[in-house]
């Protein structure tokens, strides 16, 4: 009887010691369904991988000096606004101190809309939950709420730099013609507000642009317009499926511009899977390639958790490390009774940041809670993405 009592006491003691190990919960969410499924899968893997590295190094240091492990829980929002909103409310009801996501810009916009617009605005019943976005890239979204932060590349800076570099490298290249996916928020904004604007700013003549829709399949008219325009550079602001459709039609009609420029998020495996041969030579600015020691390590670790490393998933990786830094500098408690205070601390910490450490180099944080990430230019060569120019 005594032996059992001791065994039970030891078990209880061990159990409570185990229970005393604190965890800080970070919620991830994104699209794990539909054509954007790979984004969610990769972001989840990157987040879990990053948390694993941090936990192996001891975890996050809390305000009282103890250490806590990071626990990541990922939710699938199926790239729909309603589910995204439902998920952020669900996350709010858990003990997660911050949410990382979403994947889709059409989810981010409504989701940021239900957050409290200005901190400490008592009359605003919006949700008070910090959201740190890894993927949703449509321009200008973090402005919607002071609880929204993003670690996505600044397309304006990248394309400005790209066009400038192209002008210096190929001085006889003068004109640009665009191809735009009109019915998708990101690609549409990226042509009119970014590519077209920045090309003109760098001295290019923008002859015009052709339009199509995100699930179009017949591009003969648009490619004929591209052919007639006979521009030196053809810039395609579209996602992999239609980009490939257009490129294949261009091959069929014998349209060969001097240079091809693509959309940031198309610098992924998808484009190469769909049309590696026709995409040969396309130049895209991106905020990740495994060229640094940290970048290579991150890619390898993420691969162990069955995720691919690209500019989107690696932003999620960076986010976890940035959050660790913020949590430590603000001193969170990881105590359930202080949950809302912890969330506020994370938000304030993110707002205070002037720069963060990214996998390519130092990222500057802007006034409107966006990021100015270091970038480089990649080119599709022989079925894979090769670094064309590294401005760092």
């Amino acid at each position: 009887m005594k032996k059992i009592a001791i065994a039970v006491a030891v078990a209880l003691a061990a159990g409570s010691a185990y229970a005393q190990e604190k965890t800080v919960k970070i919620a991830g969410f994104g699209a794990k369904s539909g054509v954007v499924r790979s984004f969610g899968v990769n972001s989840e893997a990157a987040m879990i991988a990053a948390a694993d590295v941090i936990n192996n190094q001891g975890g996050v240091k809390l305000a009282d000096g103890s250490k806590a492990k990071i626990a990541v829980e990922f939710y699938d929002d199926r790239c729909t606004a309603e589910e995204g909103i439902s998920i952020i409310r669900r996350i709010y009801g858990t003990d997660a101190v911050v949410a990382v996501g979403p994947t889709c810009s059409n989810v981010a916009e409504p989701l940021f809309g239900i957050l409290q617009k200005k901190v400490d605005d008592k009359g605003d019943s919006g949700l008070q939950m910090p959201v740190f976005t890894d993927v949703a890239i449509k321009i200008g979204l973090a402005r919607i709420s002071e609880w929204a932060f993003r670690n996505v590349p600044n397309e304006t800076t990248m394309y400005s730099s790209l066009f400038y570099w192209l002008k210096t490298k190929y001085p006889d290249v003068q004109s640009v013609y665009g191809g735009v996916e009109e019915d998708f928020a990101h690609s549409r904004a990226s042509w009119y507000a970014v590519m077209k604007d920045r090309a003109e700013a760098n001295g290019y003549k923008v002859i015009g642009n052709s339009k199509w829709l995100v699930n179009d399949t017949n591009f003969s008219t648009q490619v004929r317009e591209i052919k007639h325009a006979n521009a030196d550079i053809v810039a395609i602001s579209a996602h992999p499926f239609t980009t490939c459709g257009v490129l294949k039609e261009m091959q069929r009609q014998g349209v060969k511009p001097k240079l091809l420029v693509g959309l940031t998020s198309s610098s992924s495996l998808e484009t190469l899977q769909g049309c590696a041969k026709q995409a040969e030579g396309i130049i895209i600015p991106t905020s990740f390639a495994p060229v640094t020691k940290e970048g290579k390590a991150a890619a390898e670790t993420t691969a162990k958790f069955k995720g691919a490393a690209d500019l989107h998933s690696m932003a999620a990786w960076e986010n976890i490390f940035i959050l660790k830094q913020v949590m430590e500098s603000e001193g969170i408690s990881a105590d359930k009774s202080q949950l809302q205070a912890d969330r506020r601390k994370v938000r304030d910490g993110l707002a205070k940041l002037k720069q963060t450490q990214g996998l390519l180099g130092v990222t500057r944080r802007t006034e409107d809670r966006e990021a100015d990430k270091p970038y480089l230019f990649v080119q599709a060569k022989g079925g894979s993405w090769v670094v064309l120019h590294n401005p760092l």
């Binding site: 369904s33 539909g34 054509v35 954007v36 499924r37 790979s38 899968v41 009109e182 019915d183 339009k211 199509w212 829709l213 995100v214 699930n215 179009d216 399949t217 017949n218 003969s220 008219t221 648009q222 004929r224 992999p240 499926f241 490939c244 459709g245 294949k248 091959q251 069929r252 009609q253 495996l269 998808e270 899977q273 769909g274 049309c275 590696a276 026709q278």
Partner: protein, 289 residues
């Protein structure tokens, strides 16, 4: 003028794809008086399954992949029949409709799961062939699709009007009870209709993949909508109607795009449908009652 002709011909040739999908919808409707909403999804699914041929036989020629898609389409057609039409009493019209919607969602999801949603490069035949007449060009691969549509139509009409199965099918379509009394096994005829439509659908899916250059789950919804529009314009149950309507819709669609831009294009296609519904509700080739 040349621009106009080129746009028109590009559209009409692409319409051959809509024609193939329309034939499948109209065939099922003609026999069972039901819409199979899952048809385009099953066709695309068949096309994906065709890619498995490439896994089995490295660097297989395009026609082998098409054949694989053909067979897979037939199997999927049978599956849709069993899950949506075999057990559900045909007297409840809404249940099979909703069930096919469920199958559409299921097939789409299976495709997304197996391919992680990424576009898959599709092999093509004659995709580098462009017939040129001066400035005017015709896509060789779309001419192939058109040729196959015509062959499919001839084959199906021959089947329907020259074979015992066709006779049985027409009997079931006109008077299912009388057909049963004559000893025709209605369930067998219905199942076979789905299989034949599925075979054609699988081939259609493969040809679509080849024409577009890549397969993506994004194809399902527009093909379903266009397929239904083509079926109605052509006349529900009319196979030649589906072909003519497919070419018509393809041509008009491209012309609308040329003149009003891509964002308004589909609105005009819908208006075209409404024009038919108002002035010629039976479609181009109305069913003789």
């Amino acid at each position: 003028m040349l621009d106009f002709l080129q746009t028109l011909s590009d559209g009409v040739l692409f319409g051959a794809i809509y024609a193939l999908i329309g034939i499948g919808f109209t065939l099922v409707f003609g026999v069972m008086h039901k819409i199979n909403m899952a048809y385009a999804a099953a066709s695309v699914g068949g096309a994906y399954a065709g890619l498995l041929v490439l896994k089995a036989v490295a660097a297989a020629p395009a026609w082998m992949v098409f054949f694989g898609a053909f067979l897979a389409g037939g199997m999927l057609g049978w599956l849709v029949y069993v899950t949506c039409f075999h057990f559900i009493p045909l007297s409840s019209p809404l249940a099979p409709l909703m069930s096919t919607v469920g199958m559409l969602l299921l097939i789409d999801e299976v495709i997304v799961h197996l391919t992680a949603g990424m576009p898959q490069n599709y092999p093509a035949m004659f995709d580098d062939v462009m017939l040129r007449f001066g400035e005017f060009t015709l896509r060789g691969d779309l001419l192939l699709v058109f040729g196959i549509s015509v062959l499919a139509m001839i084959g199906l009409l021959a089947l329907l009007y020259r074979s015992r199965l066709g006779l049985a099918t027409r009997a079931v379509a006109q008077q299912p009870i009388a057909a049963q009394l004559c000893g025709i096994r209605v369930t067998r005829v219905n199942a076979l209709t789905f299989v034949i439509a599925g075979l054609l659908g699988g081939l259609a899916g493969a040809l679509i993949g080849a024409s577009v250059g890549a397969l993506s789950p994004l194809l399902t919804t527009p093909l379903t909508v266009k397929g239904l529009v083509v079926t109605v314009i052509g006349g529900l149950g009319s196979i030649p109607g589906a072909i003519v309507a497919g070419l018509l819709v393809g041509g008009f669609e491209n012309l609308f795009q040329q003149f009003r831009g891509v964002t308004e294009r589909d609105m005009y296609v819908m208006l075209l449908l409404f024009a038919f519904l108002v002035f010629r509700p039976g479609g181009l080739f109305p069913a003789k009652s």
